[in-house]
Structure formats: C-alpha cells, structure tokens
C-alpha cells in the first residue's frame, strides 16, 4: 500500500473511533474486500474513493453489520463489533445512509425520523424533549420541516438524501457512514448536502463517506483512502491521492496513455 504522509490530522491526538483490521469478504470466487486495514479518528471526515466495483459499498456493509466478514475485525470506540447485527451497531452510535436512497414510503417525513428517535439510543437521547419535538428539530436541521406531514414520494432526490441523513441523525450517532451522498445530485443539491456535512462535523460527529468522483470530496474532506479491487491502495490528503500513480491506474486502467 502506498502511503502519503502529512495529512491535516494530527494522528493519535483525537482518539480512534473506528479500527478496521484485516477485513476480508468473499462472495463465492470474488473477493470483494481484501485484507483491509485502516483507522478513523474521532471528529474527522474521512473519504473513501475508488472506481465502481472496488468494494466500497461492501466495506460499508461489513462495518455497519449488514454483512459478516470472512475474517478480520472491526472495533468501534474500542468495542469489537464484528458480526454484530445492524441495529445493535446503530445503538452503539454508528449510523449509515445507503447508496440507493431508502425511506419509509407510507410514513410522513416526520414519522420517518421519529422511527429513528424511537430506537433505544434515540429514546435515551431525545426522550426528555419528546419524540415529536426531536424529530421536528432534526427535520428542521436538514431543511425539510415545511414538508413534515408529507410522504417521501413527493421529494426530489436531493431532499431524499437529506431525509436519509435526518433518519440517521435520529439515532444520535457519534459516527456517520455516508454511502455516496452526492451521487445523482444536481449542483445546488450538492451544496446543500455539503453544508449539512460541515455542520455535522462542527458539532463533533465523525464522518466517513464514499464518493465516486474525487473532486466533490476534495474541498470537503481532509483525508482520503482509496480502494481498488477490494484492496486499500492509498491514503492521504485528496490532492496527493488523486495524483498518485497507482490510483490513477486503478481509475483509468493499466497502460493507458494520456494526451
């Protein structure tokens, strides 16, 4: 693995919120995630890039409990969460969004978020102010409170992503996994999501997000790891990783000449 030093982060100072060691996942003959090792520091924003099929989503699935690894371990806040069920992991403080946006179709936006607030962790955090009040304020923080009583079907794509983030916030997470939050969005929508992410980081939420296109992460994310064919191939500030030879080869294919 090619390592580039000099990230914005003073390593070790903030503590590790996530430690992934030797994580491997095979689907039949295909090794989707191959001996991946990395760490996420509390409070940082970490980006994960890689071409399609690199294993980014599988990695997310493994960390959030939707898939069990063949080998390796995941530690969250020092606790081994390998093999735990998704809802258990959520209640420890890690929430995620999905690449293909999902919502509770027949519930109002407010209820969509209320569900998250009704999780054990959500109830603990928001029980005192009341579930409805908490859901309303989260809806407001993602900018959707004026449509609180409406169903998700009326929302444009960008707002659906905001709703998803809202649902994740309802569980009062310390650590947020965002799977391709910018994909399929128009420019203004991207700005909205970026603002939201910056807001969350300011409040101390650690963020780990994937992106397919590097430049949208460049300004937002101080540190990036890159995957290709299941392996981690580079780590460091986005500008340097983007110019890294191995990464370029991964995205563009081997032995290609560029004018």
């Amino acid at each position: 693995m090619y390592r580039i030093y000099g990230t914005r982060y003073e390593e070790g100072k903030m503590g590790l919120i996530l430690e992934v060691k030797n994580l491997t996942k095979k689907f039949g003959g295909l090794t989707a995630v191959n001996d991946v090792n990395f760490e996420v520091h509390r409070g940082e924003i970490l980006g994960l890039i890689g071409p399609n099929g690199a294993g980014k989503t599988t990695l997310f699935q493994l960390i959030s409990g939707f898939e069990k690894p063949n080998s390796g371990s995941v530690r969250f806040n020092g606790v081994d969460i390998t093999g735990k069920k998704p809802y258990q992991i959520v209640n420890l403080g890690m929430a995620r969004t999905f690449q293909l946006v999902r919502s509770f179709r027949y519930l109002s936006l407010l209820d969509n978020i209320s569900v998250a607030c009704l999780s054990p962790r959500g109830k603990e955090a928001f029980g005192e102010i009341g579930i409805d009040a908490a859901a309303s304020s989260i809806l407001a923080s993602v900018g959707l409170v004026d449509k609180a009583r409406l169903p998700p079907v009326i929302l444009p794509h960008g707002d659906l992503r905001k709703l998803e983030i809202g649902k994740a916030l309802g569980t009062n997470p310390e650590f947020l996994l965002l799977d391709e939050p910018f994909s399929g969005l128009a420019h203004e929508e991207r700005v909205g999501i970026t603002k939201l992410i910056e807001q969350l980081t300011d409040e101390g939420v650690t963020i780990f997000m994937t992106g397919h296109v590097l430049h949208e992460l460049m300004t937002l994310v101080p540190r990036v790891i890159a995957m290709h064919q299941g392996r981690l191939i580079a780590e460091g500030p986005p500008k340097e990783v983007a110019n890294n030879r191995i990464v370029l080869e991964a995205y563009l294919g081997r032995g290609e000449e560029f004018a």
């Binding site: 959030s64 998704p86 509770f104 179709r105 209320s114």
Partner: protein
C-alpha cells in the same frame, strides 16, 4: 419530594382535555358517522328480530378477527395466511375450559386468547426470516398442521370437536357482550396502531432493512405484532365458540384464514375500522346468497379476486371519501 396528595387539578384538566377532544371528534364527519352507526348497532336488539341479531353477532366477531389480521398484515407487513390457527386454538382452549373445567366464560375468553398468543410466538419465531409469499405459505402450513392434528388426533374430540357448551345468556345478552368486546378490541387496536409502536411496525412494513439501519430490533417488534394480532384473533375465536356453543377442527381450515383476508381486504387493508365494514358486508352478503348455497363461496372467491385485482384500497375509505364530499357539498362548502 414525594407527592402525597392526589393532584386533582391536573387530573381534572386532563379529563377536560379528553372530553373536549371527544366532543370535537363526535361532531366531525367521521366521528358523527361512527356514533350514528354505533348507536344504530346498539339499538338492534330492541327490534326483537332474533335472526338478524344472530347474524350481526357473527359479523361483529368476524370484525375482530379481520381487524387482527389487518393489524399484522396491513400495519406490520406480515401477511399471514394461517390466521385461522389463532382463531381455532383459542376456540378449542376456551371450549375445553368452559366445558370440562367449569371455568367462567369471561375468564375462559382471556385464557383462550392467551393460548393463542403463545401459539403466535410459536408460529411467529420460525416465520421471522420469511418475507412476503414465503411467509404466507409458512403460516398456511402451520394452520394446516394444526388442522391435521386436531382432525386426526383423539384429543379434544377429534373430528367431532367439542359441543354442547353452556350458553352464556340469551341472544340479546350475547349481542351486547360481543358488541362490547368488538368496540373495545377495535379501539385498542387502533390506538396501538396510532402509537409509537404502530409507527415502528409501519416502518418495518415499509422497509425492514431501513428499520434495522435506524436501530430498530425488527425481530422483537415483529414478534410483538404477531402476539397482539394473535391475542385479538384469539378473542374472536373464543367468542365465536361461545356463541355457537361448539368447536371443531373446521375452524383451522384455510377457508377461515381466507375469510379474514377477504373481510379485511373488502374493508380496506391498513385501516382497522375497515374490518367492520368488510365483516358486515361479508356476513350480510353471505345471508343474501344463502339460497345459492354452494355458489356463495364461489362468488366470494370471485369477489376477492376482483377486489384485489381492481380495488386495492378496499371499500371503506373510498366510500367514506365520496360520502364526505357529498356531505360537504350539501353543506355548501
């Protein structure tokens, strides 16, 4: 500091708030219609027409049964095709308790329903991993297992079942008892569905993976849904057996599960109150079709096919919607 005095003032305020809410509801369109229908229903025995009363009793019992299915299928997303299992189990236990152990019918109803709850766990746990069509067949298989067991086994009467249960009163008394159970059951089920628990169940129905990702332990909540549904199906089964003063393995037939689905579908899935409409329409149509005896079930099957095919929302909501529009027009809005 411990409050030693009962806080009359705040209790009084809360009561007043509740009464205000009720009055507001009573004067709204839906509330008004509900109260009128309820009133009409309760006055029925006064007409003295015993035959009609008997039919309505069955309709009310079936309404509870259909609503219990609706709760599980329409709100929790678990479409059960073996609901007759809960109906029958409770029926058998209630009958046995009343006949062989002299238990008072009121107590027997709850014990019978309790047994249905236990069975709902027994059936629910293996069915947890099943979704959609798989779940439908799995529950159907369970009901068929029970059907076979009670049909071929010697316990509790075999093919004959248990009969000649003591009467709990004359027809009119039974009417009011059943009516009370129906009103209570439906109000409770509606309250559950509107509560936080209901929101969680609806989330599981809409997107189980998503619910999992939002920290909800879907297994526990699905089982809760099964149990609540089983409880009310059990109450219906117990009442049914007490009303007909007999129980036999026929209660476990796929046909009875089918009835629940028809009634809930006609009234409108995911409405709870629609089950009343569905059950009444079902029972009354059954009476009207009686001269056609054999063809009646055929017609029902056809009706169900047509409804599922063309009118997924059922009857109650669209009709109420139209009537409300009409009413608004009349009032000149």
């Amino acid at each position: 500091m411990v409050k030693l005095q009962f806080d009359w003032e705040s209790a009084g305020n809360r009561f007043e708030a509740l009464v205000n809410r009720f009055v507001k509801w009573a004067f709204s369109f839906r509330g008004g219609i509900t109260l009128v229908c309820l009133g009409g229903l309760l006055c029925l025995p006064l007409t003295g027409r015993e035959y009609l009363v008997t039919i309505v009793i069955t309709a009310m019992i079936l309404a509870i049964f259909a609503a219990s299915w609706d709760l599980l299928a329409g709100f929790a997303g678990q479409t059960s095709f073996g609901h007759a299992a809960f109906f029958g189990i409770s029926g058998y236990f209630t009958a046995a308790l009343v006949k062989f152990y002299g238990v008072h019918w009121f107590v027997a109803i709850f014990i019978g329903a309790g047994c249905a709850v236990i069975f709902s766990l027994l059936i629910g746990i293996p069915c947890l991993r099943l979704k959609g069509p798989y779940l439908a067949l799995g529950t159907l298989a369970f009901a068929l297992i029970l059907y076979n067991l009670f049909l071929t086994g010697d316990w509790l009467g075999g093919t004959e079942g248990i009969s000649a249960l003591p009467n709990i009163g004359d027809v009119f008394v039974v009417f009011y008892i059943v009516a009370a159970f129906m009103v209570a059951s439906l109000i409770i089920m509606r309250a559950i569905v509107d509560s936080n628990l209901g929101t969680i169940l609806k989330a599981i129905r809409d997107d189980e993976v998503g619910a999992d990702a939002t920290g909800i332990n879907t297994t526990v909540y699905k089982l809760i849904a099964f149990m609540v549904s089983g409880l009310f199906a059990g109450i219906a089964g117990a009442l049914f057996v007490l009303d007909t003063t007999a129980v036999n393995p026929a209660l476990f037939q796929p046909l009875y599960s089918f009835y629940a689905i028809v009634m809930a579908s006609i009234g409108g899935i995911a409405t709870i109150y629609g089950s009343i409409v569905g059950a009444f329409l079902f029972r009354l149509t059954g009476e009207l079709l009686r001269p056609l005896a054999a063809a009646s079930l055929l017609i029902f099957a056809t009706i169900l096919i047509l409804i599922i095919r063309f009118a997924e929302e059922g009857v109650m909501n669209p009709v109420l919607g139209h009537v409300q529009d009409l009413w608004d027009k009349i009032r000149g809005r």
